[in-house]
């Protein structure tokens, strides 16, 4: 009975180790962000809006609402940085510097934080206590001009960033017109987490681990009887 308990405990520990390894791998890979969800634009009343003028006020939040960072500002040094960058840029490669987001392949390109109606960048915002991404302050494109933000398709959104770089990213797509009016494009496709692969692999590893320990237990038991 005692041995069986030990076997179970070891199997559990092994499973925990696997999960832990998964977490560690996620953190190591975090130099690049991970597309976690979409972003959406809403009015001050929370109603979705899909277009506006340069000075039209809108707010941004995750889609669906309630998207979370893997840590919090209060405890883990995780903050929310916004961005808008040309559609051709792979947002997971964006760097979030103290001076704003930057496309490393084109540092002087039109990659900026979103700017609120007081003219302050929405950058370095605190998460909520549970890590949820806070809804943006009222934003608009008043401070931009066609030379800084040329007409074209862009991605916009926010990233959960800590000292290692971006982690979760929430992305929407937007078209900017020459007069800085805008309209949303279809949401970028977010790759699903490959549960179909990872879950069976994890289960197999746990079962194999348990089997290994059980096999060792029986071998030790036979050896004891033989002696």
């Amino acid at each position: 009975m005692l041995l069986r308990r030990k076997t179970l405990a070891l199997a559990s520990a092994f499973a925990c180790m696997l999960v832990g390894a998964g977490v560690s791998l996620t953190q190591v890979a975090s130099a690049a962000g991970t597309l976690t969800g979409n972003a959406q634009t809403v009015s001050g009343t929370g109603a979705p809006i899909s277009s506006g003028m340069q000075t039209s006020t809108f707010q941004v939040l995750t889609k669906p609402a309630g998207g979370k960072c893997s840590g919090t500002s209060a405890s883990n040094g995780v903050f929310v940085d916004s961005f808008i960058t040309p559609n051709s840029v792979d947002v997971t490669t964006l760097q979030f510097t103290p001076n704003g987001p930057q496309d490393p392949a084109n540092p002087s390109g039109p990659t900026f934080p979103l700017i609120d109606t007081t003219g302050s960048p929405w950058y370095g915002a605190n998460t909520q206590a549970d890590g949820s991404v806070t809804v943006s302050p009222p934003l608009n494109f008043a401070v931009f001009d066609p030379t800084t933000l040329p007409t074209g398709d862009y991605k916009y959104g926010m990233a959960c960033v800590d000292s290692n770089g971006p982690h979760e990213m929430f992305v929407g797509a937007i078209h900017i017109n020459a007069d800085l009016s805008w309209s949303l494009n279809p949401d970028p496709v977010i790759p699903e987490f490959p549960y179909a692969i990872v879950l069976p692999l994890t289960a197999t590893a746990i079962i194999a681990g348990a089997g290994l320990f059980e096999w060792r237990r029986r071998r030790n038991s036979h050896a004891t009887v033989a002696a």
């Binding site: 209060a74 103290p98 001076n99 704003g100 007081t118 370095g124 800084t148």
Partner: protein
């Protein structure tokens, strides 16, 4: 059975005690976090740092200073803001109101942000701002309530109060923006040299004093003068040492030898208490300490928290005049402009910002620039509600500083720290 019950009881008691201790420490942190800090829930730009200008910046935040007796509500000031972009500032004291500098204190500057050690003084404020910009952890080097360095976050700290210019100009990460002028001098307590002799102590005398740890054979009675210094990291300490031309390591030797190398700056009572004790065993002696003239005025008039009432009442103390300018730093309770504008003993006082936040690029913070009237061509340089506006100028005067006209809001220096 009895043993078993006792063991269980002991465990229960231990758990209860641990829980109580945790609750008590949590309550202590909450209490320390709450004292003498911004009450303005609308504060959008927050700062920390210098002791010298904490009171005048409290006023700019619309706060009265450290709580006045009898719930006095007459010392509230108009908060600076921006007519164009709104917003207001929150400014956290260098030391919590009514507490000694040795008491650990934590602050949370923005809702949802981290709790971190309160920076005490210009250098610590600047260090905290640099850490916030870099995304690295900050921890007070001497008095702390955190177990480890805490990442503050770039949007949880927007400016550092500073009573000195940059010490390290190897990068231009930070920009120094002056808003007023102050005079630095020394205060003294004596039981030997006369008041007139102490007020005749010159810059050269101070250089000798802080270089050689004492100034012997001073005055007609051949007394001895001993030096003190404000806490390391103080902008006033840094400025004072520059004025007398003595490096910090050398200047600290004398104060360290007699135990006054870290007296909280502008705490005249702490200095008086030390001097009284020290002089009780050192006849025919005097002790001097660096001091801001503006702080001296503001504490005397009650505009700022009065931390020097015992010193002023001592009868054996006074305020010095190292450059020997007619009238000294304070004339009839007001700043002496000649002294404040002296090239050695007068100084600008600053707020320090991340350079790119007050630059002209798209990542500039227009509200921040407007509130502080940072006039580099963009934003609302002429915002009358800002720090360089007329109303703020009146408040600056009440706190013993001189206004500086068009220099207010101009980036006069950049640096790393």
């Amino acid at each position: 059975m009895i043993t078993s019950r006792l063991t269980r009881w002991t465990r229960t008691a231990a758990v209860f005690a641990a829980a109580s201790a945790f609750a008590a420490s949590a309550a202590m942190v909450a209490a320390n976090t709450a004292s003498a800090d911004p009450h303005n829930a609308g504060a959008t730009k927050v700062g920390v740092g210098s002791d010298t200008i904490q009171d005048v910046m409290n006023a700019m935040a619309g706060e009265r200073d450290c709580p006045q007796p009898n719930n006095d509500t007459t010392r509230f000031y108009g908060a600076i803001s921006s007519a164009a972009f709104g917003g207001a500032i929150g400014s956290f004291d260098a030391v919590p109101c009514g507490s000694p500098a040795t008491q650990a204190s934590c602050i949370r500057t923005v809702a949802g942000g981290p709790v971190f050690d309160r920076p005490n003084g210009s250098s610590q404020g600047i260090n905290a701002l640099n850490a916030a910009i870099a995304g690295t952890g900050y921890q007070n080097p001497s008095v702390r309530c955190t177990a480890a360095a805490v990442v503050i976050g770039i949007n949880n700290l927007h400016f550092a109060r500073s009573s000195r210019g940059p010490n390290d100009t190897t990068t231009s990460t930070l920009s120094w923006v002056p808003f007023a002028r102050d005079g630095v001098t020394f205060v003294y307590v004596t039981n030997g040299p006369t008041q007139a002799e102490m007020q005749g102590l010159t810059t050269a005398n101070l250089t000798s004093l802080y270089t050689n740890q004492t100034l012997p054979n001073f005055g007609a009675g051949n007394g001895t003068v001993y030096p003190c210094l404000p806490q390391p990291g103080s902008g006033t300490r840094s400025f004072y040492e520059t004025a007398i031309g003595v490096a910090d390591g050398t200047a600290a030797l004398g104060p360290t030898a007699i135990g006054c190398n870290n007296l909280e700056e502008h705490d005249g009572n702490a200095f008086d208490s030390f001097a009284t004790t020290f002089l009780s065993t050192h006849p025919n002696s005097a002790v001097v300490q660096a001091f801001s003239a503006a702080q001296y005025i503001a504490q005397s008039t009650g505009a700022a928290q009065d931390r020097s009432n015992n010193f002023r009442a001592d009868g054996n103390g006074g305020i010095g005049n190292p450059p020997q300018i007619a009238g000294g730093p304070i004339v009839a309770g007001a700043p002496n402009a000649t002294y404040y504008n002296d090239g050695t003993w007068g100084r600008f006082v600053y707020n320090v910002f991340q350079s790119t936040r007050i630059g002209t690029g798209l990542t500039q913070d227009r509200q921040l620039k407007a509130i502080f009237n940072i006039n580099n061509g963009a934003g609302a340089a002429g915002d009358a509600n800002g720090l360089c506006g007329a109303a703020a100028g009146t408040t600056i005067g009440k706190f013993g500083f001189l206004t500086i006209g068009a220099t207010c809001g101009t980036i006069t220096a950049t640096g790393k720290s």
